[in-house]
């Protein structure tokens, strides 16, 4: 009866043996990573100099204003988090009470918080839904479309987080035919004014445009099926 340690040892020996065999045969094998030391480190040493120069320059010549102190009683016209959290604030604004036939089943605030979690969830599931050896966007148009959808949604939600500014500028964006027709009495989950509809439709459109553009690129590059496997074999395998 072998102990666990012995089993692991045997396994490691076998892996080593197989790898040596593969190397000896000089068959194609998957590309290894680019070593961190010293290769990536040398690359980074250039970055250090560029970064420090740029940071000093920006800090000296692009000042940001000194803000007025906090005043709990006077809410300003525009309240914002920093730019990288605008999407989250946009989600809070776009979420309304979930209503089915006049019954509220979830508060809008809670929905907004849950949607923030959903965004993180969308990022976590990526390795589970993307399979295969494809690396380039052109090899996996669906995943590229998914990514473009996410990025555009981030941008449009950031725009939606300052919706009151846009409403002031272009009144048509505040038009809400859904509510005017009384449809919100039947089912209501997200804001339905023109700006909010655009901020959901534009990312979906962007995803489809990306998908079909990449499909078109695939066809004009090769004009044959099985292109992905050929590309993978020639690009990602080395001797």
């Amino acid at each position: 009866m072998a102990t666990t340690k012995e089993l692991i040892q045997a396994y490691m020996d076998e892996v080593d043996r197989l790898e040596e065999e593969a190397r000896a045969k000089k068959r194609f094998r998957a590309v290894e990573g680019f070593p961190y030391w010293p290769h990536q480190f040398m690359r980074d040493s250039i970055l250090v100099l560029v970064f420090l120069a740029a940071l000093g320059y920006i800090s000296a010549f692009i000042p940001y204003y000194l803000e007025t102190p906090a005043n709990p009683s006077g809410q300003p016209l525009i309240i914002l988090p920093d730019w990288y959290l605008l999407w989250s604030y946009g989600l809070l604004k776009i979420a309304v009470d979930v209503t089915i036939f006049g019954t509220v089943i979830m508060e809008g605030k809670l929905l907004g918080v849950l949607l923030n979690g959903v965004v993180v969830g969308f990022m976590v599931i990526v390795p589970f839904i993307a399979r295969g050896a494809a690396r380039r966007p052109v090899e996996a148009p669906a995943m590229a479309g998914y990514g473009v959808f996410g990025m555009l949604l981030g941008i449009t939600l950031s725009i939606y987080s300052v919706n009151n500014v846009f409403y002031q500028q272009w009144g048509i964006l505040a038009q809400d035919y859904y509510v005017q027709a009384g449809l919100n009495e039947i089912f209501y989950i997200l804001q339905t004014d023109l700006l909010s509809i655009l901020s959901l439709v534009v990312p979906i459109l962007g995803a489809f445009v990306t998908y079909y553009f990449l499909k078109w690129r695939q066809n004009i590059t090769t004009g044959q099926t099985g292109y992905e496997n050929k590309l993978s074999a020639s690009y990602y395998k080395i001797r």
């Binding site: 590309v31 290894e32 990573g33 680019f34 070593p35 961190y36 030391w37 290769h39 990536q40 040398m42 690359r43 980074d44 970055l47 970064f51 420090l52 940071l55 000093g56 920006i58 800090s59 692009i62 000042p63 940001y64 204003y65 000194l66 803000e67 007025t68 102190p69 906090a70 005043n71 709990p72 300003p76 309240i79 914002l80 988090p81 920093d82 990288y84 959290l85 604030y89 809070l92 605030k109 907004g112 918080v113 923030n116 993180v120 976590v124 990526v126 390795p127 993307a130 494809a134 690396r135 380039r136 966007p137 996996a140 590229a144 990514g147 990025m151 690009y235 990602y236 080395i238 001797r239």
Partner: protein, 276 residues
């Protein structure tokens, strides 16, 4: 003592230098003579051989990229996209250094002070105590600037790094685990940014704090408990600022540093993906 094994190495060169025959000019001959004299006594040849052996033994050589070594097709201008993670690390380091210096002077207080307007930057005559670093210590303005822009660059680098990882599908085997660690780092970076945004205790800080507080309170079951823990109750005030200070200066940086070390160690083991 009998001569063994013929003339010593370099003898011919030395003879040329001594007798003045050959093509060498006077200056060269003099240099050569000096070199031969030193070489006879200090054995530079051996040093050179030892050095070459040493360099071979530690395998020190100029980096050759994977694509160069295996003659793969490469798009060289993609390389900068593969240093975005390092850029995030670098800006974290500069933010830490400037942050330590700022923490020496920062007072987490919601009090307000009257000070003369700061040049062209502001026409206000009163500031929250938190931002008076700018006016009261030497280079305080530059310190805040460095910290601010380091943070901006860090968040931008982390976001673009995520986009690059996604678009080149670098999260696939064997890098799935590191992808999850990276998402954790992204969230931590956003947390660092948010808590730092609240520290000047300006109008924008306060109302951004209100947004966060309402989000916490809207969460069922743990909402009020979380609001009390992170924001110090259901209203913003001095306790909020103190908590944000502790989170921003101690808790989040330490966690971020630990996770970052893990992230980079995994990269060290697995290597960086190459543009293909």
């Amino acid at each position: 003592m009998a001569k063994q094994g013929g003339p010593r190495p370099g003898a011919r060169a030395y003879d040329t230098a001594r007798t003045g025959k050959g093509q060498a000019t006077g200056m060269q001959k003099m240099n050569l003579r000096l070199w031969a004299w030193l070489e006879d006594r200090f054995l530079f040849r051996q040093f050179r051989r030892h050095y070459q052996e040493f360099m071979l033994r530690i395998n020190m050589q100029m980096p050759v990229s994977h694509t160069e070594r295996y003659n793969l097709r490469v798009i060289w201008y993609w390389y900068p996209l593969y240093t975005l993670g390092s850029l995030a690390l670098l800006s974290f380091v500069t933010a830490t250094i400037s942050g330590i210096l700022l923490a020496l002077y920062y007072v987490p207080s919601i009090a307000v002070r009257t000070l003369p307007p700061y040049g062209e930057l502001s026409t206000e005559a009163w500031y929250s105590v938190a931002v008076t670093i700018t006016q009261e210590i030497p280079f305080g303005f530059m310190l805040r600037q460095l910290h601010f822009w380091s943070a901006m660059i860090m968040v931008a680098a982390v976001v673009l790094h995520t986009v690059r990882i996604y678009m080149t599908q670098s999260y696939k085997k064997p890098r799935e685990v590191n992808y999850f660690v990276g998402i954790l780092l992204l969230v931590l970076t956003l947390g660092l940014g948010y808590t730092g945004y609240l520290l000047p205790w300006s109008q924008l800080s306060f109302w951004a704090g209100r947004i966060g507080l309402e989000m916490a309170l809207a969460t069922p079951l743990v909402g009020e408990w979380a609001a009390a823990l992170v924001f110090g109750g259901s209203a913003l005030g001095q306790e909020t600022l103190t908590r944000m200070h502790v989170l921003h200066v101690f808790v989040l940086p330490v966690i971020t540093f630990g996770v970052m070390v893990m992230h980079i160690m995994i990269v060290w083991i697995q290597g960086v993906t190459e543009p293909h």
